[in-house]
Symmetry: C2
Subunit: 320 residues, 2 copies
């Protein structure tokens, strides 16, 4: 958990406990793989947003807890499925479920965790929650499929990229910020600014992720530098470089290659950075952070709002 979430540390501890409880009675294989996944940790960003959102209206952590757990399960399920297709061997410096147990288990474990989230969501008699999450899950798959269908293609626009990361990442974070408040019975005037805040934060978060893939410290990041590029995933700094680098043809050539050597990946990363692709992307991050702050101004000035300001600050300067 991040230090800035100190105010809700007890709630996040409940989420950790519930995540473990959910798989306790399962088949040993499900239990082992799930516990591995839960123990691998993560920032628990989505549950945190969910609780913080709830603080803006008749806060009742018991009403939010199942939803917060469900959001983390949806996120975990998507990570396990991504690892299958990404051929990732480590995530957060820890071997992936796929690396330890194989593709078959990873696929069904993802489905299982997602199913568990549906059970929690089905416990709510509020209709907004299942509708927002059903819509989000369709978009998440669409984003992933678009990422596959546009893989290695140098002819993508910034617009294509924004649409994809909105689907892949931002919508679930937007839902997390919105639905904690919805679960507490908040009106639109509260849960819509929270949703918009989450959307901007989610966009900034994913662009930062894509920047870190190029310039982070490998040990801190927990995976090799240039992983996206190696897989042919076209991110914002790369799109900028494909439009602005003097050596754009060489960059497109490396991108389109079947097998990319370590040297080629390094060469491409250097080209992207030197032509300003990372600086440009950082500016876009700042623009989204600005939008996120604007949304917060529409909400009451309570301690949770201060934390959400700090999250915006953290997203824009994070190194891992």
């Amino acid at each position: 958990m991040l230090d800035i979430f100190n105010e809700i540390k007890e709630e996040i501890a409940c989420v950790e406990k519930e995540l473990r409880n959910i798989v306790r009675e399962s088949d040993p294989l499900i239990k082992d793989t799930s516990v591995h996944l839960i123990s691998a940790g993560g920032k628990r960003l989505r549950p945190a947003f969910c609780f913080l959102g709830g603080k803006f209206y008749n806060y009742d952590y018991k009403k939010i807890l199942p939803l917060a757990v469900a959001l983390e399960l949806i996120h975990m399920a998507s990570l396990v499925h991504d690892d299958v297709v990404d051929s990732s061997v480590t995530r957060r410096n820890i071997p992936t479920v796929k690396a330890m147990w194989g593709n078959k288990i990873s696929m069904h474990l993802g489905d299982y965790l997602f199913g568990k989230s549906l059970k929690l969501i089905a416990g709510y008699d509020n209709l907004i929650i299942p509708r927002v999450l059903a819509d989000t899950s369709v978009k998440m798959s669409e984003g992933e499929i678009q990422q596959l269908s546009t893989s290695k293609r140098a002819d993508q626009t910034v617009r294509d990229y924004f649409y994809r990361i909105k689907s892949k990442t931002a919508l679930l974070i937007a839902a997390s910020c919105q639905l904690g408040a919805v679960a507490c019975g908040a009106p639109q005037s509260v849960h819509l600014p929270l949703r918009r805040y989450g959307h901007s934060i989610g966009m900034a978060f994913q662009i930062t992720d894509d920047i870190l893939d190029l310039v982070a410290d490998e040990a801190q990041l927990g995976k090799p530098i240039g992983s996206d590029l190696k897989q042919g995933i076209v991110t914002l700094p790369l799109i900028y470089a494909l439009g602005h680098s003097e050596r754009r043809d060489r960059l497109a050539e490396i991108l389109s290659g079947e097998e990319k050597s370590h040297e080629e990946i390094n060469e491409a990363c250097e080209m992207i950075v030197s032509c300003g692709g990372v600086d440009y992307s950082n500016k876009i991050v700042q623009r989204y952070i600005g939008n996120a702050r604007k949304q917060l101004k529409r909400l009451p000035d309570i301690p949770a709002r201060e934390i959400l300001y700090m999250v915006a600050e953290f997203i824009s300067i994070r190194k891992f």
Copy 2:
């Protein structure tokens, strides 16, 4: 569609149309893969059960249609995911999505179709529907994971097998029979016998599937004989043979082998049939069919009930 579903042929035609509508506006890759999948056909058993169940109480096909489509989408999603892990190349004599587009697309397409089913389900303000389906989807994944974790193991009981096929197959058919009536507002006295009928039919259906894997005509079945055995999936006829065949050690040896030759598969199939594994399994099918009939007696004598009797008859004698 099966001829016995003639009474609801217009409803099934609406399901076909809706399935195509749902993917019409998608990314071209989603559209191509989905249309391939929808065109490959299938018996549309789950939607049919859903409409027939609804006939027992204030039938309104508009109330049932989204649910019927959702059930077929859940089934399709599970098939696409199964093809990923089964390494199947054809299903119903048609190349699988995996064979044509690869594992990555298949996995995300399954998630996408499942997400689309959630959107349809979220349109109901009835709480039983999402709860039953969430529970069913968890069990379906559990069944698949158990199938993987018990693969190639000769020490399985009939009880393990029943638990697995209930999770994998019977619960979704039970839900299909039950929830059409629930969507029309039927009381428990109507939807519970329908659920139990569906459970028995689902068990009989899966055991018949497992028998056909050993003795069907390959061309009619649409896939090679002995596919389950080749993958190490332990089915009822095999469990019987592992307990009763004089050559059980040889059978266990073939089952545990990494790569199984065509000759070994044929040898094993012959052993299973000759020791009575198929006859035994057929008796169990008849027992489930008997249970299904018993449940129907609790329901009003309407034409839909006659069709459900005929479905029970069909399941027990089907050859594909």
